[in-house]
Amino acid sequence: RSLKNQDPGPQPLELKQVFVLFQIQYNRSYSNPEEYARRLDIFAHNLAQAQQLEEEDLGTAEFGVTPFSDLTEEEFGQFYGHQRMAGEAPSVGRKVGSEEWGEP
C-alpha cells in the first residue's frame, strides 16, 4: 500500500479539545466567555507546567490533567492547603524566666 493510504494513527488533541474533555470529566462550567477564556489560559499554563515537572522529576511520577488543572497555583494553595500559617512554623512561646531568655 502507498504511504498516502496508511492510517496516520491517533493525532494529538488540540488544547481546546483537551479542555472540553477536562470540563466533561470534572463537570466544570464557567459563568461567561471571559471566565472561560481565563480558565483556558490557566489550563494551558498548567499543562506546560505539568510537562516541565515530569521532565524534572527524578522518580517515576507522571503529571498532567487533574481536577485542579483550571486553578492557578495561588487558588490551589488557598482552597486545598492549610491557609492558616501556611508554610510557617507555629509560634512556640518560651517560658517566662526560662534560661533560654537572652541567649542568641
Partner: protein, 247 residues
C-alpha cells in the same frame, strides 16, 4: 524496620478515601484517618469518626479555614472522644456550624498525641510497628500529580514550606525499570534503580492520584515529609505493644 509496609492490606484499618471539597480541612481529615487506623489496629473494629465535629468544635470554630493536625487532637482530648461520621456527617462547606459534640455517642477516643523524631528511619519504624501517622508536606507538586513516585529536589519542592496534612500508610520500593516498562507507563526515560517510597492517603477523593493515594520518594525529606510527623495514641496500658504492618 521491614523492607515494605502497607496498612491498606489489613482489612478494617484504613477507612475509605475522604473528599474535603471546598473546605480546607486536610488537617482534620488526616487526624481522623490516624485515629480510625489506630483504633482499628488496637480494637480490631473498623470505625469512621466525625470530621465535622473536629471542624465545629475546635478552638477557633472555623475549621474550613485551615489548621494543623494537633488542633484536631486537642479537640478530641477536650471532647473526650469523637462521634461517628454517620451520626455527625461531613457537610463540606465553609460556613461555621455549632458544635454538637454532646449530642452524639463517642465511638473512638485517644489518650494523647505526640510528635515523632523528624527522621525517615524513625518514622518508618513507628509506622511499621505502631500504625499510620499524620505528616504535613509541601503540596505544590500534587496539583498536577497523576501517578508514580515523586522524587523532587528541594528547589522544586521546598521542604520548609509545608502546607498540606495527609496520612502516611506505608512504604516500599518501586520495581526495576524493566518491571515498570511492562506495566505500560509513559515513554520518558526512567531511573534504572528501584526507588524507595512512602505511600500517603490524601483527602481529595478517590478519583485523584492513585485511587486517592500518592507516593513520595523516601530518604531525602521529599517535600518536607519529616517536618511535622504527628500521631495520636489510643492506648497507653501496654506501653511496649508492637503490631505488624502487612508487607
Amino acid at each position: 524496620v521491614p523492607p515494605t509496609c502497607d496498612w491498606r492490606k489489613l482489612p478494617g484499618i484504613i477507612s475509605p478515601i475522604k473528599q474535603q471539597g471546598n473546605c480546607s480541612c486536610c488537617w482534620a481529615m488526616a487526624a481522623a484517618g490516624n485515629i480510625e487506623a489506630l483504633w482499628g489496629i488496637r480494637y480490631h473494629q473498623p470505625v469512621e469518626v466525625s470530621v465535622q465535629e473536629l471542624l465545629d468544635c475546635g478552638r477557633c470554630g472555623d475549621g474550613c479555614k485551615g489548621g494543623f493536625t494537633w488542633d484536631a487532637f486537642i479537640t478530641v482530648l477536650n471532647n473526650s472522644g469523637l462521634a461517628s461520621a454517620k451520626d455527625y456527617p461531613f457537610l463540606g462547606n465553609t460556613k461555621p456550624h455549632r458544635c454538637l459534640a454532646k449530642k452524639y455517642k463517642k465511638v473512638a477516643w485517644i489518650q494523647d498525641f505526640i510528635m515523632l523524631q523528624g527522621n525517615e528511619q524513625a518514622i518508618a519504624w513507628y509506622l511499621a510497628t505502631k500504625g499510620p501517622i499524620t505528616v504535613t508536606i509541601n503540596m505544590k507538586l500534587l496539583q498536577h500529580y497523576q501517578r508514580g513516585v515523586i522524587q523532587a529536589m528541594h528547589t522544586t519542592c521546598d521542604p520548609q514550606r509545608v502546607d498540606h496534612s495527609v496520612l502516611l500508610v506505608g512504604f516500599g520500593k518501586s520495581k526495576s525499570v524493566a518491571g515498570r516498562q511492562a506495566e505500560g507507563g509513559s515513554s520518558r526515560p526512567r531511573p534504572h534503580h528501584p526507588i524507595p517510597y512512602w505511600i500517603l492517603k490524601n483527602s481529595w477523593g478517590a478519583e485523584w492520584g492513585e485511587e486517592g493515594y500518592f507516593r513520595l520518594h523516601r530518604g531525602n525529606n521529599t517535600c518536607g515529609i519529616t517536618k511535622y510527623p504527628v500521631t495520636a495514641r489510643v492506648d497507653l496500658r501496654v506501653k511496649k505493644r508492637l503490631v505488624s504492618c502487612p508487607p
